[in-house]
Symmetry: C2
Subunit: 255 residues, 2 copies
Amino acid sequence: MSILRKHPAYVLPVGDCQLCSIREHAMCRATPEQGLQQLESFRSKQIGLTSKQHLYQQGQRHKQVYTLYSGWMMQYKTLPSGKRQILRYALPGDFLFFQSDLAAPMQHSAMALTDCSLCVFPRDHLLEMMAQIPQVSIQLATFTARDYEYQIDISHKNAQERLAYLLYDLFTRIKSYDPATTDTVQLPMTQEDLGDTLGLTQVHVNRTLRQLRQEKVLEFLHHRLIIHNFEALKTLAGYATQPLPHSYKVSAFSL
Amino acid sequence: MSILRKHPAYVLPVGDCQLCSIREHAMCRATPEQGLQQLESFRSKQIGLTSKQHLYQQGQRHKQVYTLYSGWMMQYKTLPSGKRQILRYALPGDFLFFQSDLAAPMQHSAMALTDCSLCVFPRDHLLEMMAQIPQVSIQLATFTARDYEYQIDISHKNAQERLAYLLYDLFTRIKSYDPATTDTVQLPMTQEDLGDTLGLTQVHVNRTLRQLRQEKVLEFLHHRLIIHNFEALKTLAGYATQPLPHSYKVSAFSL
DNA sequence: CGTGATTTTGAAATAATTCAAGAAGCGTGG
DNA sequence: CCACGCTTCTTGAATTATTTCAAAATCACG
């Protein structure tokens, strides 16, 4: 059995996907009881994927939208140059599908990194869901903003800082599924995946990981990430421990 | 009078800001008549800013949200290193303020690049507006997704491609305010601003602009952008003219 | 155990930054 | 209307960051 099959499959905390009995689901979180029933009426089915299987492909006019119930998925784009750009790793509870133009063909592909299961909703009903259940739109706007802020935060960093930022984020997200986690987690991605995520070559990722290992910050080897120095990692990743100074006057209107 | 004062101030097409009679306003676009009246009831006032004035500052707990009515603004962050990262240039109709955690202090600052006017809404009412007027949430999710996709698109590019992408985008946005535009527009930003937007040094922006000029793609000098070769620019910016090939099989569930 | 995928390392080339200094444009005050 | 000072733009040389190419070592899995 492949390492990706036996990889720990993080699962949403509550029961079978009723998209609704699962409060941790991105689409359900903060939705009131009545809204959950509505949501459930929109759901069309559940599906399973095995590792490496695609859920949808860039260029397709896809008719459905998803939330991930268990497993890891990744979303990526094939660029005009032929290179692969990984946009995002999805964990249980995360949306898969959203793009600014819902009517356009998908601008990216989604592939299972491990065996997965998902909840399916008809794409045609999404706007209806957003209109009828305000929490759905709010969640969607909030999660999209979070992804946006993630990209903003990583964009002006160098190789070491990016790697630190990405690995810190992945570690933190996984830890939220298994609070017993101390310093070690299993990750389904390779060094090449990390490179395609960060816009670095696999070779440079390897050398940067070596640096981080030598500096005793972390180790990443064969799908196992170990964090040795949490504080150093956070600092490298650019999480400010001090509030930033204000250097300009603010308009009189601003308060 | 400063060049930034006499800079062309793009204004929303329709009348005084009734946030409502202005259909092109991000918050109003696609909102039905009844929603517009509701929106108007939420609006608290209009304000003006002069060039270089700040609307809000990173770290503040800001009580209002805005849509820009006329002029240019920029949103930026001060990083722990002290460097400035410009996130976004706002033109009339654009939202200013959104972040994933509405209750947190602002994660960025907003400054007027030219004289500006804006519509103001109490931040406390934003979630209420989103819940009562579904179009507001949908617009917010859509625009945030657009910003996200913009960051995704620019993130794995080199200096020349980034500059091409940014300038093409700015050109296109301005053109939408003045359809008579052919190949020349005025931009309020400096080469240093472009550098802080793209994560490049001002010196490298200068050298890259020289390359683009020598290759007869475009000229950017003293706030004036001239596009000489639109096709070359689009290609450099990474807009694929051909659909991308599909290389993987898709799950049986995907249609 | 053998094969293909992944990781590691070295050497050379390219991309971008840093430091430094000079040139050109812009706006204010005389 | 000109002169001065400040900001922005330009260029060169040296340094650092990252990529490319290539090959060997290790690992996973059948």
